[in-house]
Symmetry: C2
Subunit: 326 residues, 2 copies
């Protein structure tokens, strides 16, 4: 089973066919960075159109059992998430509405301070806000997973503790391996995984040691060492694949409508666009390279299967439905 817990590609029939060629059973796709509720609904609408248009390649994913259906019918199940809480605006009632429409992951922040918590680019991290506590409780109730990939350390640790259900960092790497601002320090990874949460390894070059030149062996060695430290059961893949996107999209991701000035995020003025992906992970057909890389660094069949998909499957199964909340 292969599950990728983060992609934001410029979707097309080509990419859906590559998912099939790569044996990808499920993908968590981002449908909002800075979108309002209404704009996010338009993105759900666009996906409904694709489901209608490519019924042999993709299907809407709402529950882990949809992955079983997808596998039986040779399709990829598409699960939805937001990189920012902007789709819920300032209205806690929208948490359940968005879950009903199919949202399964929501980041509490995207780099900046939000109504809910602090993003990883802020100078000060004041932790989870008053509204943030209420929203985490509501997300727990309906089965919308808290994702802290772009959040600051204190906010992430607090969210892992406040949440009555496991949370996730869908796409990042350990800071100890590659000290990017977006990569996560050990105490952050521990706070998330110790509570049953998931950590997804990213292929986005700015998160890799050596960036685009990172080798598959280096990447897989890092995964094996992370499994030694935190346990293999809470680790998976979240490639952050942004295939076929024009550079205007990385600018939208970085500046949205919150500033009139350019902000280069993990890039720089001289390297403002999407960085080239490593040669061994260009698109959805390349998951086999990660799988064989993990075996090559000495992980067992069962460990490799856990990382490649069955951990996310278990996590989806436990965390997308309504939950009893204390």
């Amino acid at each position: 089973m292969r599950i990728d817990c983060l992609q934001y590609a410029n979707w097309s029939e080509k990419i859906f066919r590559q998912m099939r060629a790569g044996g990808v059973d499920a993908v968590h796709v981002t449908i909002a960075y800075h979108e309002t509720f209404r704009e996010t609904v338009a993105n759900f609408e666009q996906w409904n159109r694709w489901f209608e248009q490519y019924p042999d390649l993709i299907m809407k994913g709402q529950w882990a059992s949809d992955i079983d259906v997808a596998r039986k019918t040779g399709r990829t199940a598409i699960f939805f998430g937001f990189q920012n809480p902007s789709p819920m605006e300032d209205d806690i009632g929208l948490v359940e509405i968005l879950h009903t429409l199919g949202a399964r992951f929501m980041q509490l922040t995207y780099n900046n301070q939000s109504l809910l918590a602090t993003g990883c680019y802020e100078a000060e991290d004041s932790g989870v806000t008053r509204m943030g506590r209420q929203v985490i409780k509501e997300m727990n109730r309906v089965g919308l997973v808290v994702d802290m990939s772009h959040s600051a350390d204190r906010s992430t640790i607090e969210a892992a503790d406040i949440s009555q259900r496991p949370i996730a960092i869908t796409h990042a790497n350990p800071h100890v391996w590659s000290p990017a601002l977006r990569n996560k320090k050990d105490d952050v990874i521990r706070a998330v995984t110790a509570n049953g949460g998931m950590f997804g390894f990213s292929l986005y070059p700015h998160h890799l040691k050596g960036k685009s030149d990172c080798s598959v062996t280096d990447f897989c060695e890092m995964i094996a060492r992370t499994a030694d430290t935190f346990g293999v059961q809470n680790l998976g893949i979240g490639t952050d694949l942004c295939q076929d996107q024009p550079d205007s999209i990385v600018e939208w991701m970085r500046v949205g409508r919150w500033t009139k000035e350019i902000d280069y995020g993990e890039g720089s003025a001289s390297n403002a666009g999407f960085p080239p992906m490593p040669h061994w992970f260009q698109d959805n057909r390349d998951f086999g390279n990660i799988e064989s890389g993990l075996k090559a660094v000495g992980m067992s069949e069962a460990e490799v299967a856990a990382i490649m998909g069955s951990n996310w499957y278990r996590f989806f199964k436990d965390n997308f439905g309504a939950g009893a909340v204390a």
Copy 2:
């Protein structure tokens, strides 16, 4: 089984308890008259709050099978509908979004011309529009039932013919019995029922012969005669109960935001508010009066059961899911 296919009450625990006392298994409730998409979503949110608050009395209804669950657990299943296409605005993609959120009936017009068809108060009825044809097709595809209760005759007959699935007039009475503008002429009722569509009898006094003074015998006699003419299998109840509403609400229903002038609709300057309900149908506890009334005018047990609920049950079962569209 008792199903009421139209209510728009000022919802409260009191009314939910009356539904239980009256043995009402399912109610189609109106959640939009003139609301935009976002305002309609706020109304879905309000119902989510009520489902959370009164889990022993009510539950969200999406499929006929939810009525079975409601009956087994002693609750009333609440199904959602709109009296106007305003929630979908000018965006056909919202048809599926609204269905996903739980909408199961949508009127193509509310008294006035809409983007889709002509309402019953317009001087000219130009029939189903270009967009209306597209929207009917999309409603057929996803399982959102076309309701023509407040539409003009030609538009209704055209909609019944264009639609690949049965349509409904959820709440009205035969014009031949009481010649109100909102009541339906025989050719309209025939167009709807001949294609397997449903006709729901209204208790709204402006639709009754003798208005608030109409007797239960007169009402039930009318039902029996309608069954003689059109067949009992396509008839049900849609009371149009607007319990506990202030008169400001009937004004909202009539004028929305489409005019600055007052429009009295079926009322008049001297009788502008909600008319008093007949003494034998004051609230949800009074469905037994209709049931015994139907028996008293000579309908069989099976015919009475069909009218009181099992016809709507069959219709819900056949028409709320995705459909194959030519």
